[in-house]
Each structure stands twice: as C-alpha cells, then as structure tokens.
Amino acid sequence: MKALLIRDLRLATRAGGGFGLALAFFLIVCTLVPFGVGPEGGTLSRIAPGILWVGALLSCLLSLDRIFALDFEDGSLDLLATAPLPLEGAVAIKALAHWLVTGLPLALSAPVFALLLHLPGPAYPWLVASLVLGTPALSMLGAFGAAVTVGLRRGGLLLSLLVLPLYMPTLIFGAEAVRRGAVGAEAGTPLVFLAGITLATLALSPFAAAAALRVNLR
C-alpha cells in the first residue's frame, strides 16, 4: 500500500504529472471573479466563502480523470486488480494520493487566495479547517466518478456531470462553515456535518469505486 502511494505521488509530482495544475486553476478562478463582479471590497468579501469553495471544487474536478485513466491505458490497473492488495484498498490509496497532490495543497494555500478576495479576517481558520475536512470527500467521490467513467471515450465530460450532484452537500456545508466564520457566528455545526460526510465517503466510496472498476476491467 505504501509502495502504491509513493508511486502515485511520484508520478503526480514529476514532469507531466499535472501537479500544481489544481493550484494554478484555483488562482485563475480567484483572478477571474473580481473581474467578473467588480473589485469592490464589500461585494468580494461577501461572496468570497462561496467563490473559494466553488473554486476548490472545480480545481479538484479538473484532475479527477487522472486518478485511473493513465493506469487503465497502460494496463497497470489490471495488475492492481489482480494484486494481493484488495482493489478497495488500492482505490482508497489512489484517492488519498489525489488528495495529497490537489486537496491538501489547496487547503493550505487557500488563505493566500482568500487574501485576493478580501475574505474577512476571522474566517481564515474556518476556511482552512473546512477545506482540510471537506476535500478528502471530494477526492473519494471523485475516485468513484473516475472509476465509473474510466473505460469511456469522452469520459471527462460525463465525469463532471456525474460527480457534480454528489459534491453538492460537501459544498453546502463547506461554504456554510466559512460564511459563518466570516460573520463571527458559530461554525462548528457545519464542520461536524462536513467531517461526517468525509468519513462516510471514506467508508463507502472505495467499495462503490472498486465495484465500478471491476465492471470496467471485465
């Protein structure tokens, strides 16, 4: 399991792996929004929690089809499926690797981007906390979506349609936590819900994704 994790991380961080793509995309979103809605600080700081979460979600979406597609093409996914490691475990590890290269950097660098959007000061800890708690769910659900669409031509487009409604609860609770943090309200409840969603996806999504992979590898 550790070897698989290290391999995936290496593949993602070396040349052509697309590491940093999510961050760059996040930067693009945060740059485009002020041009779209106008640079007034008041407006920006009001919509910043939502924009930051939507941006994080979209940049996560961008790299989802990489989770299984390359391994499917060169056949190493078949090897993984026949390896002693259960496929569920392999799925969980690959989703974890995806989170380590997209979700975690996003969560840690989000305060910098939040600065661009004039996010109110008290919201910063909530922003980082909600992203750290919420993005694993995005990666796990994304792994399920990627597993469903791995064998398809034009899978990427379908992937976003399938995964987007699944992301809705995570987005709602994540943005809600930041919004409450921004106005100084009690933000613990949405964070607890967010953690609950993440734990539930951690528990269930590997099984669904592995079932979908087995169908696609048949």
């Binding site: 399920f144 469903v148 669409t149 064998g151 398809l152 034009r154 899978g155 379908l158 349609l161 399938l162 987007l164 409604p165 699944l166 809705m168 609860p169 709602i172 609770f173 809600e176 949405p190 819900f193 969603i197 269930l204 999504s205 669904a208 079932a211 979908a212 169908v215 696609n216 048949r218």
Partner: protein, 241 residues
C-alpha cells in the same frame, strides 16, 4: 407463481402485452378526469385560480421522487439477482422520471411567479429537485455512454445506489443551507392541515392518473428496450455468420 418468473423476457413480454392496453386506458381515463375535474374546481380564496396547477405539480413531483426510488429497487434487483428485465426497466424509467422532475420544476416556476413574485427561489425543495434532475441526467448519460449493455447496467446500478444516498443527503443539506419559501406538504393525515375535499379528491385522482401513466410508459419503454436488445442480439448473430 413468483415475481422472479418475469425475469424471463418472453414471459414478461406476454404478460405486459396483455396488460398494457388496460393500463393505458386506465391511465388516460384517470389523468384526463383528474386534470379536468381539477381545472373545474372553484377558485381558492387566497391563491385564486393559480391553485389549479397543483393537480399537475404535486403528482409530477411525487412521481419524480418515486421513480428514482423504483430505479433504486430495480437496480438493486439487477445487481443482486442479475434480473435483466429489471435493469432494462430502470433504464426505461429514467427519462420518464427526468420529464416528471422537469414538469414539477416548470409548473412550480409558473405557480411561483404570481404567488411569490419570482420564477425561481433557492429554496430547499426547489434546489433538491434541481439536484434530482442532475442525477437523472447523469444516469441517462451514463447509460448512453457505455457500449456493453451488461457493463452499462452494472455501472448505472452502482451510480443509482450512490446517487440515492446523496440525493437524500442533498435534501437535508439544502434544508440546512437555506430555510425555504415553499409551502409544506399538500397532503397530510392530520385533519386540520388537509386541503378541502373539493381539491383533495381530484388531486388523489390525478395522482393515481400520473402513477398509471408512469406504469404505462414504463411498460411500453421496457418492451421497446427488450425488443432493441433482441434486435442487437440478432444482428450480432447475423454478423458472426
């Protein structure tokens, strides 16, 4: 005599063919009667004539949810018992469900405009219906995208299971997110909250009508799917020969 006999497509085709004309007749009769009766009801003291859209809106919304539930059950049956007719019935139900969701959304918008002064409101019920529509679209798109029919049935089955969990979760998440404008349930068992009988009985009838309509469409579409599957099998054999 058990329901599993209908896993045999021949048996299913024979029975459904015999039942179908009756179902269609009952569906047309009850839907038309329900809607016309509903249209002729007196105007509501508060909402005026706009209340009449309820006879289209509520049954459509009811069916939109229940069709997804039916797809969940048929997908489970397919995944557990490899019951081919079941998978095809789920496939056949999805577009009907999507259209029902769309009817509920559109009539809701048409009703909401004079009542709330807005075509669309980010209200929990409305939003969760929009999410439901997205689920239907994704489900249908996945059926179209996968070539091997058995793989398609497997993948959409798994998607339906995961989607059901998240449809439910979204329902409560959006509740949390925004307290709504939408009125409570139109039908309730508590006597004080019920609609007046003038509205209730035509509503029951049109709900029954929409259910029968769905049943008729489901049978027709499932039969079409079975025939299409047979045609594909015949063509494959022709090509091999």
């Amino acid at each position: 005599m058990s329901i599993w006999e209908y896993a045999n497509p021949v048996k299913f085709m024979r029975t459904s063919g015999a039942v179908l004309p009756w179902v269609i007749a009952a569906a047309v009769l009850s839907t038309v009667t329900g809607l016309v009766w509903g249209f002729l009801t007196p105007e509501d003291y508060k909402q005026g004539s706009t209340v009449k859209i309820v006879f289209l809106h509520v049954p459509a919304a009811l069916m939109a949810i229940n069709i997804w539930l039916m797809m969940l059950v048929t997908s489970l049956i397919w995944l557990i018992r490899r019951h081919h007719v079941s998978a095809l019935a789920a496939k056949a139900a999805a577009p009907v469900g999507a259209v029902m969701t769309l009817i509920a959304l559109i009539t809701g918008a048409v009703w909401g405009q004079p009542m709330w002064g807005t075509w669309w409101e980010w209200d929990p019920r409305l939003t969760s219906f929009l999410i439901l529509l997205l689920f239907y679209l994704g489900y249908m798109a996945l059926w179209e995208a996968v070539e091997n029919p058995d793989s398609a049935a497997d993948l959409t089955g798994v998607l339906c299971l995961v989607g059901s969990v998240f449809a439910l979760l979204s329902r409560y998440a959006v509740n949390f997110w925004n307290q709504g404008l939408h009125q409570g349930a139109s039908l309730s068992l508590a006597p004080g909250e019920r609609m007046a009988a003038v509205y209730r009985y035509p509503l029951y009838l049109s709900m029954a009508g929409f259910f029968l309509l769905f049943l008729a469409l489901l049978l027709i579409r499932t039969r079409t799917e079975i025939r299409r599957r047979r045609l594909a099998a015949l063509l494959a054999r022709e090509n091999r020969a």
